[in-house]
């Protein structure tokens, strides 16, 4: 594990750290006293355990971590962490987090959201947070269904999905959250799976270390309303053949014997022994141009035949909150520091005054 020493550019730069001499924080300290109330077998448990487990590794003061959520099953998340938190309203968490992250440089800000919360009712706030590149980490739990309202199709449900509100099948074309995030020019875009603890932890840590908006799509099983939605990739053998684990600087492989090659402006999967070496795509999450990452996100046509997992994009771009603060600080510095009472008096007077004598 690399140790974050708070270099500029790090997602947690400016956030107070625990004393290096102090005993390491524990998972228990990050666990609130509230009873967790998700359905038995819900994928959210695994994500919660993973987050509670790795937050101590960040070495940040617990009181400087804030989780903001919207509405939906996953949005109960903040209540189960002993940090600061707000369980807000449907879809608005990115907007609230933007205000908080901009007002407070010393906080590590996290958003917990779901496919309905982030992509349907809150779609506007999500895309604008990503284009602005506000320093926050967004965990998007995608279970392709509305759980809390008991089983209607969501904006990531497959065409034809039979749900309570689509008894003869959904006709809505679904969003691919990774494609959407790349289209909004998010600077960090990743995808992981609730049941793969090691991978989940690795991607979330990288997301936290990224300065700017990190969007992590977490495939998450809803055992009640959409059980088995990701079974094809969760199954040990099937999964192996379908997953493409993205490793920066390495050729992208699908399973053991297939590779991803260029195909016009897009990509396709071919048997490794039929591929021309020069056509095999080498993953580069740091490429300034998001086109390759986007093409990669299109590999899965919804059938989960080939599913890239890992970090699609991880690039540096000045963050919105840093720049907003820099403008305020710049103006204050060039004016000679914080405004005094005299400065305020001058402002109230303005340019054009007249005096009435008593």
């Amino acid at each position: 594990m690399s140790i974050d020493i708070g270099m500029p550019g790090s997602g947690t730069h400016g956030v107070p750290r625990v004393d290096e001499e102090a005993p390491k924080q524990t998972k228990k300290e990050f666990t609130s006293d509230q009873e967790v109330r998700w359905c038995p077998g819900c994928g959210d448990y695994a994500v919660l355990a993973s987050v509670q487990g790795f937050l101590p590794d960040l070495g940040l003061k617990r009181e400087n971590i804030v989780f903001i959520s919207g509405i939906g099953c996953s949005s109960r998340f903040p209540y189960y962490l002993d940090t600061f938190g707000m369980h807000s309203i449907h879809g608005r968490a990115p907007a609230i987090a933007t205000g908080l992250a901009t007002a407070r440089e010393d906080l590590s800000v996290w958003v917990v959201t779901g496919d309905g919360d982030a992509l349907s009712i809150g779609g506007n706030h999500l895309i604008h947070a990503m284009r602005r590149n506000v320093n926050m980490t967004i965990l998007l739990f995608n279970n392709k269904i509305y759980g809390l309202t008991k089983g209607q199709y969501s904006p990531t449900s497959d065409v034809g999905a039979v749900t309570k509100s689509t008894p003869v099948g959904s006709v809505d074309h679904p969003f691919n959250p990774v494609s959407l995030a790349l289209g909004a020019e998010a600077t960090f875009v990743g995808r992981t799976l609730d049941s793969d603890r090691a991978h989940l932890t690795k991607v979330l840590k990288a997301a936290a270390e990224h300065r700017g908006t990190s969007l992590v799509e977490i495939y998450q099983n809803c055992p009640i309303f959409n059980d088995g939605a990701f079974q094809l990739i969760k199954d040990r053998d099937e999964g192996k053949a379908r997953l493409a684990h993205l490793v920066d600087g390495e050729q992208i492989k699908v399973g053991e014997d297939h590779v991803v090659v260029r195909n016009g402006s897009g990509m396709k999967v071919v048997p490794a022994d039929e591929a021309d070496e020069a056509d095999i795509v080498v993953h580069d999450a740091t490429a300034a141009d998001p086109s390759q990452a986007f093409a990669l996100s299109r590999l899965d046509d919804g059938t989960m035949a080939h599913v890239p997992m890992g970090i699609f994009r991880n690039v540096e771009r000045p963050t919105y909150d840093d720049q907003v603060r820099a403008q305020v600080e710049g103006v204050r510095a060039s004016a000679g520091g914080p405004a005094s009472d005299d400065d305020l008096q001058a402002l109230l007077h303005g340019q054009d005054t007249w005096t009435v004598n008593g």
Binding site: Q34, K61, T98, G99, A103, D106, L347, T353, G358
Partner: protein
């Protein structure tokens, strides 16, 4: 000094009207500054179309600016202009109905072409058909006079013509004995980078002044003496400026940063513009993706310990409703400024109305009380902003400030306060745990309330030991844990209401103005109707009729003596620019049959009309009729 005789007037109402590209707002602003410098009391009313450039020369494209100035205290921009400056036929057609016969019309004849007359809907030229005989008409070719004055300039004809508003301003400045120095410095600064344009405008301005001095068309000039005003330093200020400065002053006094989340909307955007330029005062402005994002950003900033503020108008307030409800539930401070405009829906974006009162009071799901206050004049927006931040931070509650288009754009003199005289604002964050859990461990209870205010502690992220979660789900009293317990919900709903009701303990009782002490009829207003109501009451009293008047700043909660005040009069008249929203609240709360008087024309009440209404109410009261 002028060679012409000067006649003294006690007050004058001038309206500048022209095409929206003619610079009438700028002309009005400059005349206002000149007038302020002479120490007159004044009040202004800009009136412009929602379209940035409506088709040139048409009635919808008319933009006007009315200014009332006097040697005594005045409270409105006036009902009927004494002087109309009409820059084209459309301006004449659109405004003549407001100008009483006998008043002065200064008309730019150059624009009275066949084509322009047709655009304005004139079949015959009103300058020729005798229809203006009852007015005192000065028909002047202002455009060609400007072009002629600028003959030596290397500018295009079009560029020269654009200075015609300055020629008109120069002429009016001469006519009412206004100094030009202020406008000259203004033009020098404004056009510092384009010397040719700067000189052209200065030349046009002086040419207008000189024309007044030499022409035989104007035999006398007028002057209006300074109004007696409290000693002090004065400036003119619009409601938007005053609102922004009030927020800045409060932030400064509290030592907290202010974060404005805002989405552009007429007529509220000027506050965003003003605050955006005041970063020096620890002001952060975030232009959000939409109205909901804007209020979300403000709430997020408040959660972080900043003064979260959002500015909007009626349609935006509707969009922000759910987030304001979240602020009610999480009990975080926030200030929402609604610069009301004509509604419903898009309504009349540039016109004024008071029709969001009930939306502010009740426009959220659930029992969701918030504090509501309303400024009464443009400069009172300053004090209202200060009061809103006091309530929000003291009671940890959203506060809605109901300004409106008339207040936002209107201007008047402001006695600039001394910073040290502004009310202090000490905001304390929680720093320590305040309870113990069943095991005896020290814990933080985010909903343990202050006994006096019922406010909960404001514990901001970054405070060790106070980690806690808040949200929109009902929470248990004291601990703040999620709770669906029926009795707890009943208690929390009542606590939140009692907290807002308790604000009445810290607001001034309602004061009644009743000089004779024998009035039986009270006129009660709120918000921007203060000016017209005050003027109407003065007219009513001048006619020998006793009438009492009071004005509400706090709409929720009401001042604690309000019921007693209402019950001490036989009849209470409530004029509003809506269909009786305050009247409905008063009737519901006190079972008092107040008399509602309403107009929703997108314009302030005419004080003369209102005086007539008040007079009739006094008569009916005496006769015992409805």
């Amino acid at each position: 000094m002028s060679s012409k005789p000067t006649r003294r007037l006690d007050r004058v109402i001038i309206r500048f009207a022209g095409d929206s590209g003619d610079g009438m707002q700028l002309t009005g602003d400059r005349f206002t500054s000149e007038t302020a410098a002479l120490g007159n009391d004044l009040s202004t009313l800009p009136n412009f179309p929602a379209e940035i450039r409506a088709p040139q020369g048409t009635l919808p494209g008319v933009s006007s600016f009315q200014l009332h100035f006097a040697d005594h205290e005045i409270s409105t921009p006036g009902d009927a202009p004494d002087v109309l400056v009409a820059m084209n036929p459309a301006a004449l057609k659109a405004t003549l109905q407001d100008v009483p016969r006998g008043a002065v019309l200064i008309i730019n004849t150059d624009e009275f072409s066949k084509r322009n007359l047709a655009k304005a809907g004139y079949d015959v030229n009103p300058l020729d058909d005798g229809s203006l005989e009852s007015w005192h008409v000065h028909a002047l070719p202002l455009t060609s006079m400007t072009v002629e004055a600028l003959a030596d300039f290397g500018l295009t004809r079009k560029e020269k013509e654009r200075a015609k508003n300055m020629l008109a301003l120069g002429l009016l400045s001469w006519l009412y004995s206004r100094p030009l120095d202020g406008t000259e410095s203004f033009l020098k600064a404004k056009f510092a980078k384009v010397p040719e344009i700067r000189e052209a405008n200065l030349t046009a301005l002086r040419a207008g002044h000189a024309y007044g001095e030499t022409t035989e068309d104007f035999a006398v000039r007028f002057e209006v003496a300074a109004a007696p005003m409290r000693a002090g330093v004065y400036r003119t200020m619009t409601g938007s400026q005053a609102m922004a400065l009030g927020l800045v002053a409060s932030a400064h006094r509290s030592g907290l940063p202010l974060v404005l989340g805002s989405y552009p909307i007429t007529p509220a955007s000027d506050i965003l513009h003003t605050l955006s330029a005041l970063k020096r005062y620890n002001i952060t402005t975030l232009q959000a993706e939409d109205e909901i994002g804007a209020v979300g950003m403000a709430l997020g900033a408040s959660f972080g310990g900043a003064l979260g503020v959002t500015t909007t108008s009626g349609p935006g307030l509707a969009l922000k409703a759910e987030t304001i409800g979240l602020a009610v539930s999480t009990e975080l401070p926030m200030v929402i400024i609604d610069v009301q405009r004509g509604g419903p829906s898009t309504g009349l974006p540039t016109k004024t109305e008071q029709s969001d009162l009930l939306q502010a009071m009740f426009g959220r799901n659930g029992e969701s009380p918030v504090a509501v206050i309303a400024p009464q004049s443009p400069t009172d927006c300053f004090d209202s902003a200060v009061e809103a931040i006091r309530i929000a931070t003291t009671y940890r509650t959203p506060v809605i400030v109901l300004s409106d288009g008339y207040l936002a754009n209107g201007s008047e003199p402001w006695n600039v306060p001394n910073v040290e005289d502004l009310p202090g604002l000490d905001v304390e964050f929680a720093t320590e745990t305040n309870g113990t859990d069943p095991k005896g461990k020290d814990v933080f209870h985010p909903f343990l309330r202050d006994n006096e205010t019922l406010a909960r502690p404001w514990a901001i992220p970054g405070t060790a030991g106070l980690e806690h979660r808040i949200g929109g789900i009902e929470k248990a009293d004291v601990t703040g844990h999620i709770s669906y317990d029926p009795d707890n919900h009943d208690k929390m709903v009542r606590l939140r209401q009692a907290k807002i009701d308790g604000i009445a303990n810290t607001i001034e009782p309602l004061e009644v103005d009743d000089p004779t002490g024998n009035a039986r009829v009270l006129v009660l207003g709120w918000g921007s109707t203060f000016g017209p109501i005050s003027a109407a009451v003065r007219l009513t009293r001048a006619a020998g009729t006793s009438i009492a008047v009071a004005h509400l700043r706090h709409l929720n909660p009401f001042p604690s003596n309000l019921e007693e005040v209402l019950r001490s009069y036989n009849r209470v008249v409530v004029p509003e620019m809506n269909l009786g929203q305050l009247a409905m609240l008063l009737r519901a709360k006190f079972l008092i049959d107040v008399k509602s008087h309403t107009a929703v024309r997108g314009l302030p009440f005419s004080s003369a009309d209102l005086a007539q209404v008040l007079h009739e109410h006094v008569l009916h009261n005496e006769e015992g009729t409805a």
